[in-house]
Each structure stands twice: as structure tokens, then as C-alpha cells.
Symmetry: C2
Subunit: 285 residues, 2 copies
């Protein structure tokens, strides 16, 4: 299955990629739990979104994104994008010489723990929901668990447009998508796209106190810490660094990043789309 | 300025490209006016949308899209995407050996004629509105004309999601974007994105009878006909063909295309993103 691991160094960075900015909500959780880690982040803003695209195209883009991150000799690669985690984990694991962690498996495990036997809801992109990756991951732990999934395609552009959580349009769109889930009142609702944590207050209000919301970012950060601990690769620094690359418009990235990361991002670097095309990791593995 | 024209043949196809499916609303108008023309269409669905991306990235993608179409020895290339027309016309004209027609100039000219001295409104993507291409094109004809522009980023994903025109969310989003334009009641409102003609009834209802809506597709089709007539390149066939390429997911393309084109599209062909990367026309011109 695996491309053959290379030996990794605790001083190496964690590589994180996403279709755009959203993965910074995952980085935020990793930084909060593991402040000593160096992180290299790639947001593929030139080709965002991945959530409406075919599995074949998402796999291709994910291999290129990961291939670029290999240049930094990472000790681990985190797939922050739910859509890429839902459709590309097998191909990434086959082709990458380092451990790859996606968001779906840690989030599914955390949801099963948190739901305490109750039903689990998931909202995500078309790609994530159509892939059935969340039900599959949950059923791998508990085959009898009821999983309710709903695609919510407008939420990503709504968040990127910068609408507030009490904007009537945000509430109308959420009500439309969550209608059936509200009726079913699952014990846990997985926010299965990196943008959704920015709507957590509005979603929580609509779902009511019976349903606990799960941000996969936190589950991923905990899994990253556990794996680095098990493999002896935790950083020994007190304070790590964050280096961000984007395939489009570093100014827009820096401007929007604050909302996803909770702090400023300095010196966002532009990566030519050409460079990414050449980076596909199949050849390097 | 120009890359040096090659001699063209009336039997050659018209090449049309767009960031995705939307450009089929332009193709629909061309086919209706010029049923004898062969058309080769490229929708860059793997990298859609262009409307939120930087001018540099849109120029690069547009050059690649056009470069691919050159393989078919087209007599003309139509840039059906408003965003690409707004930011990439100069670079396309510099690099392509055939005539290039965008949507902005013909639509601006038609709007000035239709407005009869009145104010002109434009709705479009972030990229189109930020470029100020419509006001610039209108002011090139009439420097004193008032132009009111509003970006409407959610309309593309709303149309692609397949929502009906009387969907409360569609009406709420339109009301939000059109609020200021409703107050100003321009004589003409340009539907400055290929997806918007699919919302024409809802937009018309909100804008009221004072404002005439302008679909750039029709203005472009008329301009294409006039230019082919002037250059002696009108097709002599009775019935032309339509060949469609997409960079992602031909099934999704064929499924959604019906709504944009008004009829079925058979045999949509998948174009690998790699192939497009190699197609950039700078080298070929």
C-alpha cells in the first residue's frame, strides 16, 4: 500500500494543504495544541473549490499539493480539506513517503465517542457527501450507527463573502440545509468542511442544545499530537513557525486568513500554478 | 498589439471558452443567430470559478483555454466568460493569431444603445466588478454616462446548485444584491455573468418594468455575426455542429448543460488539466 517511508526528523515541519484558506481552521487547532511545531501550509486558491469537482480531479490536485509540500522534508502531511480527505486518502498514502493524516478518520472517531450511541449528522460539500467517506469511517467503528448527511454547497462562498453569522441570508441558507437534521436532532453534528467552524454560533443556535457540534480541526490536531508522540517526532522547540503558500492572490489570502486563523499571517508566498503542476508526487515517491 | 493574424477559413469553427458551463448561455445565442456555424466549446470546470481569482491567474487560465482552442484552427475565438473578458482581453489579443471577441465590449455598446441616455447598472462577479471593465467600456462610448455596479458572488453557486427562480433563498440573495440598484432604477441592467440569464425572471420581477435586462450573450452573437459578415467568414453550411470539452467531470457537465443551452449536449469530452497546462498560446502565437 504505502510508498515506502523515508526516515523523518522531529525538526521537520508538518505540511498542511487545503483547496484554499479554509484549512487554516485546522492549522489554528494544531498551533493551539502543538505551539512548538513548524508548519508549511499550501492553499490551492487558484483552483478552489474542490468540493464541486470530480474525485479524479481532486485526487490529481491533492497529489500535486502534497508533492509541493515534500520539498520541505515534512515529517507528516495533513490533508486539511474535507473533500480531499474524503476522496484522495488512498492515493495519497500510496504515493507519499511520509505519514498522511486526513480529517475524516479522526473526526469520525471523535464523533462516535462524543455521540455516546446517538445518531451522527454530517454537513459537507457535494464531493464529501457524495463520497460517503464519513458514513464509511463511522461504520468502520460502529456498523450499526445511523449517519445523516447533508450537502451544503453555498456555505463556502457565503463564508468567503464575509457574511456575519446573524445575516438573514446566512440563517435562511442554514435553515434550508439543516431542516431535516433539525427534525432528527442527532447527538453530534460534524462540521465536515473547513469553512463551517466560522458559522458555528449560527449552526448551534439552529440545531439546539441537544446536538453537539464537532469541528474536525480539533480531532485532527489531537490525532497529529498522538501520532507524533508515538513516533518520537514531536518538536522540541518552544515556538514553531508558520509559512504559508498560495497558488493565487497572496493579498486576498492574507486579508481573509485572519478570520480563519484568528491572527495575522505575514509574508504569504505566491506559488505559480506551473510549479504545482510539476510537483505531483507520484514520480518522487 | 496583435500577434499577427493567420489567414482564416469560413469553414473553420468558432472557438468559445468559459470558466465552466455558463458560457453555454452565449453559445445558445450564437447557435440561434448563426445555426450554420461549427462551434468548439471549452469549459474549464476543473478550475471554475474565475470570478473570485486574481487578474494574473485569470489571464493565465484564459491563455491556456484559448491555446487549446487554437488546435481546431478556429476563425474566431469568443471569450464567453465575463471575468476573463473583463481582465484578459489585452493579453489574449496580443497573443492570439485570430480575432478575439469578449462579452464586455459588445454588451456595453448594446447597453448604451438600449439605455437611451439613462443610467446603466451591471451585476457581475468580484473579478468583473473590481476590474471596472464595464464602466470603462461604457465610458469609452459615452464618458458622461452613470454606471452602477454591484458584485453578486453567490449567484453562480446558487445557479449551479439548481435552485428555482422562486426559491426564497434566491429571492433573498437577489434582494440583498439588488437593493441599491432597485432604488436607483437604471434604464438597463447588464447581467454581467453567464449564469445570470438563468435568473432573469426573478431579477426582472425585483427590478420592475422601468429597467430592461440585458443578456450579453445576445449582443455577443450579433457582434460575431457582424464581424464574420465583414470578413467574409460566415459559414456556408445550413447546419453546424457543437463539440464540447470540459476539464472536469463530463457527466456533470452534460447533466447541467441542458439548463444553460436549452437542449441536450451529446458526447462531452474530458480534457486533462495537464493538456491545458501545455496549451498556453503565448508560445504558439
Amino acid at each position: 500500500m504505502n510508498a515506502g517511508r523515508k526516515s523523518c526528523d522531529a525538526a521537520g515541519p508538518i505540511g498542511v494543504f487545503d483547496s484554499g484558506l479554509g484549512g487554516l481552521t485546522v492549522v489554528r487547532q494544531i498551533l493551539s495544541l502543538l505551539p512548538g511545531e513548524d508548519i508549511v501550509y499550501l492553499g490551492d486558491s487558484a483552483r478552489v473549490p474542490y468540493g464541486t469537482k470530480s474525485p479524479a480531479t481532486v485526487c490529481k490536485f491533492a497529489l500535486q499539493d502534497a508533492g509541493f509540500l515534500l520539498r520541505f522534508d515534512p515529517k507528516m502531511i495533513v490533508v486539511a480539506c474535507n473533500t480531499a480527505s474524503a476522496v484522495a486518502m488512498d492515493v495519497l498514502r500510496e504515493n507519499l513517503p511520509v505519514e498522511v493524516i486526513g480529517v475524516v478518520e479522526p473526526a469520525a472517531a471523535a464523533a462516535v465517542r462524543l455521540a455516546d450511541g446517538g445518531e451522527i449528522g454530517v454537513i459537507g460539500t457535494e464531493g464529501t457527501v457524495n463520497s460517503k467517506a464519513y458514513p464509511r469511517a463511522i461504520h468502520a467503528i460502529d456498523g450499526a450507527r445511523t449517519v445523516l448527511a447533508a450537502a451544503a454547497p453555498l456555505l463556502v462562498p457565503i463564508v468567503e463573502e464575509g457574511r456575519k453569522q446573524d445575516d438573514p441570508i446566512v440563517l435562511a441558507v442554514l435553515t434550508d440545509y439543516l431542516h431535516e437534521l433539525q427534525r432528527r436532532r442527532p447527538a453530534v453534528l460534524i462540521l465536515g468542511c473547513t469553512h463551517y467552524p466560522l458559522l458555528v454560533r449560527a449552526i448551534s443556535k439552529l440545531m439546539g442544545p441537544h446536538t453537539r457540534l464537532l469541528d474536525p480541526g480539533l480531532a485532527v490536531a489531537e490525532h497529529v499530537r498522538a501520532r507524533l508522540n508515538e513516533t518520537g517526532l514531536l518538536s522540541r522547540q518552544a515556538q514553531g513557525s508558520l509559512r504559508c503558500f498560495t497558488t493565487d492572490n497572496p493579498e486576498r489570502f492574507a486579508h481573509l486568513a485572519r478570520r480563519f486563523l484568528g491572527r495575522e499571517v505575514a509574508g504569504v508566498e505566491l506559488l505559480g500554478a506551473d510549479e504545482l503542476d510539476r510537483a505531483e508526487c507520484g514520480g518522487q515517491a
